[in-house]
């Protein structure tokens, strides 16, 4: 896989709910090995975009390509099998089951027991707190610990593309830094990321490439450096947040 190839290609996607289109002819791509961010005001279609990419929502038009292969018709579980992972905005785990069971479920598609054990060890190495709490119910974890569990759950499939919906929500600034620290380190190990964020400043400081959505379309894109230099982004944001 050449470092410049796109692990994810979204082409001309139009999608919405009940007849109204939230996304209009949207296109973006994630270069493999990068952390790509998506920002935009409320209602711009960020969550809808993620739903379409992961497969929860069918677009009325357009294609989703994973590593050049079209996955547009596939249900989420098959896209997971092909190397996508997804962490939703709120509670993307199972509170009534233990930490260990949550991880086991994350590895639902991994048939090889040895591989599962290896990956679980990697998760526990990265998040010692999860090892400590492995027999506790996930519902008893704090907000930050739950996020880490979700990242751990995601790691169990060793995805090539991880999709995160507002990972900083509900976390203190220190925890946000911790989470993004892990994301960066996983990215450096080869995992590509597509991250939607409200916390624009944080995203600008860590991402390799940014897309700014507005009204269901791709308004601006570029490196964080380009975008913060460019006054329009500030205008988009200050204007929208008002």
């Amino acid at each position: 896989m050449a470092p410049d190839s796109a692990i994810l290609d979204v082409q001309g996607v139009t999608a919405g709910y009940g007849g109204s289109a939230v996304l209009q002819d949207l296109g973006l791509s994630v270069r493999s090995g990068t952390m790509t961010g998506v920002i935009g005001p409320n209602g711009a279609g960020k969550s809808t975009l993620l739903k379409v990419i992961v497969g929860y929502l069918r677009p009325s038009q357009g294609e989703i390509l994973l590593d050049g292969v079209a996955v547009t018709g596939l249900p989420p579980e098959q896209r997971i099998a092909k190397g996508i992972a997804y962490i939703a905005q709120t509670r993307s785990h199972f509170p009534s089951q233990t930490v260990q069971e949550n991880l086991r479920l994350g590895a639902y598609l991994v048939k090889d027991a040895r591989l599962r054990a290896e990956r679980q060890n990697a998760v526990f190495e990265r998040f010692p707190i999860l090892h400590e709490r492995r027999r506790q119910l996930a519902g008893q974890l704090s907000g930050g610990e739950a996020r880490m569990l979700e990242v751990g759950r995601m790691m169990m499939t060793a995805p090539r593309l991880a999709i995160l919906d507002e990972p900083s929500v509900g976390l203190s600034p220190k925890l946000v830094d911790v989470v993004y620290g892990h994301v960066r380190s996983l990215c450096d190990q080869g995992m590509s990321f597509l991250i939607v964020e409200q916390n624009v400043r944080k995203l600008l400081s860590v991402a390799d490439f940014i897309y700014a959505l507005e009204g269901g379309r791709n308004r601006y894109d570029g490196t964080p450096h380009d975008l913060s230099e460019d006054g329009r982004l500030a205008e988009l944001y200050l204007g929208a947040r008002g």
């Binding site: 579980e77 199972f94 639902y108």
Partner: protein, 294 residues
């Protein structure tokens, strides 16, 4: 008087096992798929009539009949889930209200199909699960009823072990708790729904086949049992497996004991009344969880 109490209580325990089994199946279906399956009792009817057909066909062993009943009802449950419930599924969730109304239509169709094919007469199977009774002092308990109780407990325990310890069982619980996260783990919610409905129906079918040696079957029996199942599920708590079992026994015992104090025939009011009290005073039931689904 004490002997009466003990006798009726014992009887209640035995019917309670059955109620618990029914409630378990309904609870599973509701907990995972959020569908109120009004036709649940009809699965019991189909199980009972499969046993009757086996009996008419010359099969004398009730156990073979039970196995056949479970197989038949599981298949029917699967077909219902695949062709009637799946179309109502949007983004991994089933439309609750449409599912409920659909199950109403199903109960009409199934109960009357049975009526059309077999007629309204009460039917019996030729065999018995066991002959004779156990005598404990002044208490006489039919062995057969005891076996039904034990079978119910075994089935319930098997279900609970399956849900708790196997990967598929955990996946089922996961889908019930958070369908989106389950899908994000690679679990096919579609397949889990099919499996869950089949298992729930199978439990009801087993219950139906279990009771036929002890009592008779008639086409409208399903609706009565559906009402019991609902009472059990509400009293025990929607979504709680232990709750269903406990509530089943509670309902069975109270209803049985009520025969002593209430004029005859009124014991069937116990279920609705207990359900009403639970709904008014503590809607989540004895062991239920407040509906906090993702």
């Amino acid at each position: 008087m004490l002997l009466d109490l003990v006798y009726f209580a014992a009887l209640g325990v035995m019917t309670g096992g059955l109620y618990g089994l029914l409630g378990l199946g309904l609870n599973l279906i509701f907990g995972v798929m959020r569908v109120i399956n009004v036709s649940h009792g009809e699965m019991l009817t189909l199980g009972a009539y499969t046993a009757i057909v086996m009996g008419l066909g010359g099969v004398t062993s009730p156990w073979a009949a039970i196995v056949a009943a479970v197989m038949v009802v599981t298949l029917i449950g699967f077909l219902i889930a695949r062709y009637l419930l799946q179309p109502l599924t949007v983004e991994s969730r089933i439309d609750e209200q449409r599912g409920m109304v659909l199950s109403l239509g199903l109960s009409l169709v199934l109960a009357n199909l049975v009526l059309a094919v077999f007629g309204p007469e009460y039917q019996r199977v030729p065999g018995k699960l066991a002959e004779g009774s156990i005598v404990l002092g002044d208490l006489i308990i039919e062995k057969q009823r005891l076996i039904i109780l034990i079978a119910s407990l075994v089935l319930a325990a098997a279900l609970m072990a399956f849900l708790r310890f196997t990967l598929t069982g955990k996946a089922i619980r996961a889908v019930g708790e958070n369908p989106e996260a389950a899908q994000a783990s690679g679990i096919s919610v579609r397949k889990i729904h099919l499996l869950t409905f089949s298992i729930g129906s199978a439990l009801a079918g087993a219950a139906g086949a279990l009771i036929t040696p002890a009592t008779y079957a008639f086409p409208a029996m399903g609706l009565n049992y559906t009402l019991y199942a609902f009472s059990v599920v509400i009293i025990g708590g929607l979504g709680s497996v232990w709750g269903a079992i406990f509530a089943g026994f509670l309902l069975g015992i109270v209803e049985s004991l009520s025969v002593i104090w209430l004029p005859s025939g009124y014991n069937t009011i116990v279920g609705p009344v207990l359900m009403l009290f639970t709904l008014i005073i503590r809607p989540q039931g004895l062991l239920g969880v407040k509906p906090g689904r993702a």
